[in-house]
């Protein structure tokens, strides 16, 4: 049975990545610091009479998540280049896609971790009511995150081997982040403003379609980035 093996190997790769990250902890700390920094700076920067919290909140939220995602993705394949572990992964009798899926899962877990810090902090510092909308909000966050992390993980497999790796990834990723991000920001704004769910559903659907298209595409294209 090929499918369970694919997933099992993907999970092996993902848990290895997470274990490594857990041991060094640098990335999660940078991301957490950034989240707090953004929240504090935006608070001092705004005029509470001019801009309401609810208007500002979605942008802040998504800026921090995006930063965390790029941080994670930059490191994902970097790890495999030290000590040439990537060759080892390619030699192993596993599907190439399990390497990609494993990296994707690890990146998603990382970004989710940051989001789990960011959302409560945002609700706290900015006094934004989040709990009534928690379900749809989480769905929205999940769908949008998968969208750009899927593409970013694929691209990072290519950029790590180029000269300006860390610079190139965000540049390549920018046009691919905008659709899911803009839909997410708009939908988050509507959601937190208490608009009815029916208004959000359209965006959720589009995000789901985006995710399906790009995850599938990435799984098919990934082998081309590592095979010679």
């Amino acid at each position: 049975m090929r499918s369970p093996k694919l997933l099992r190997h993907a999970w092996t790769v993902a848990s290895k990545d997470l274990l490594v990250e857990f041991r060094s902890r640098t990335a999660i700390l940078s991301a957490a610091v950034f989240v707090v920094l953004v929240l504090v700076v935006f608070n001092f920067g705004r005029d509470p009479t001019a801009v309401s919290n609810v208007d500002l909140a979605p942008s802040i939220l998504w800026v921090t998540f995006t930063f965390a995602a790029i941080l994670a993705m930059n490191r994902a394949f970097q790890l495999e280049l030290e000590n040439q572990a990537l060759d080892g992964l390619l030699l192993a009798p596993i599907e190439r896609s399990s390497i990609y899926l494993g990296k994707l899962i690890a990146n998603l877990v990382f970004v989710t971790g940051v989001e789990l810090i960011g959302v409560p902090l945002l609700a706290l510092f900015f006094n934004v009511r989040v709990l009534p909308y928690l379900g749809p909000l989480l769905a929205l966050i999940a769908l949008a995150t998968i969208g750009f992390v899927a593409v970013g993980t694929l691209f990072s497999a290519m950029t790590t081997r180029t000269r300006f790796a860390e610079l190139l990834l965000p540049v390549l990723l920018l046009p691919f982040m905008i659709p899911p991000l803009s839909w997410a920001v708009l939908a988050t704004g509507r959601l937190l403003a208490g608009r009815p769910l029916s208004e959000i559903v359209g965006w959720l659907n589009m995000l789901a379609v985006y995710d399906i298209v790009f995850v599938t595409l990435a799984v098919f294209l990934f082998p081309a980035t590592v095979n010679e």
Partner: protein
């Protein structure tokens, strides 16, 4: 156990492999000597399945599962312990626990790593890291070993230990292809010798008892 037929592969205008063919049986070790750029690493990569040759084919009985690679890079994760590394790699090869545990113990014992099992690779000395890399290559019980310049950076004693280990493995029936530009270090282990230049085998024959010095001379004659 291992078969190469008419391998041809070019990188742009550079011909890395130019009609290479040979076979290798259980327990035999082929040492391939050649200058840099001769195509030795490309040959290994094609045998390993990392590169698909433009012409010809390479076949290893058992496929990728049966191959173990020892190179000059460790392929270990520095932040993980020796044990965690071994567990990770063995699970990618689907080694069941009941095989993994005894084999792991045996390997660590033979390589002198028992006391370092739970230490992070980043904390180990260079020599220990290299031994751990060998353990990683052997943990899934590969029938074929591919070695890419394995003596690089090893001192005399470490090189001698590696040679001992490799002859033990050969005695257990593993086939090996060893690629290096250092003729003296690799000659002793080989049952068969090949000299490679510009993608071709300039010589391919059993070693027939010739010592490292003699092989070295043969090499100079053939390649120079």
């Amino acid at each position: 156990m291992l078969l190469a037929e008419g391998l041809r592969h070019s990188f742009g205008a550079v011909r890395a492999l130019d009609d290479v063919s040979f076979g290798l049986q259980r327990g035999r070790t082929l040492a391939v000597f050649g200058p840099n750029g001769a195509g030795k690493t490309t040959l290994l990569k094609v045998l390993a399945g990392l590169i698909l040759p433009q012409r010809g084919r390479a076949q290893v009985d058992g496929g990728r599962r049966a191959i173990g690679w020892i190179g000059h890079q460790a392929q270990l994760y520095a932040q993980l312990t020796v044990l965690e590394n071994l567990r990770f790699w063995s699970s990618l090869y689907d080694v069941p626990d009941n095989e993994f545990l005894p084999r792991k113990d045996d390997l660590l014992q033979r390589l002198g790593l028992r006391d370092h099992e739970h230490r992070r690779v980043s904390e180990l000395s260079r020599g220990l890291v290299q031994r751990a890399a060998i353990a990683r290559a052997l943990i899934h019980d590969p029938r074929v070993l591919l070695l890419d310049e394995p003596f690089t950076g090893l001192d005399r004693m470490a090189a001698e230990e590696l040679r001992e280990l490799l002859s033990e493995e050969a005695a257990e029936g593993r086939a090996a292809v060893l690629v290096t530009h250092n003729v003296e270090e690799g000659a002793e282990l080989a049952t068969h010798i090949a000299f490679m230049r510009a993608g071709r085998f300039a010589h391919f024959a059993p070693r027939a008892g010739r010592g490292p010095q003699q092989v070295s001379e043969d090499y100079r004659d053939a390649i120079a």
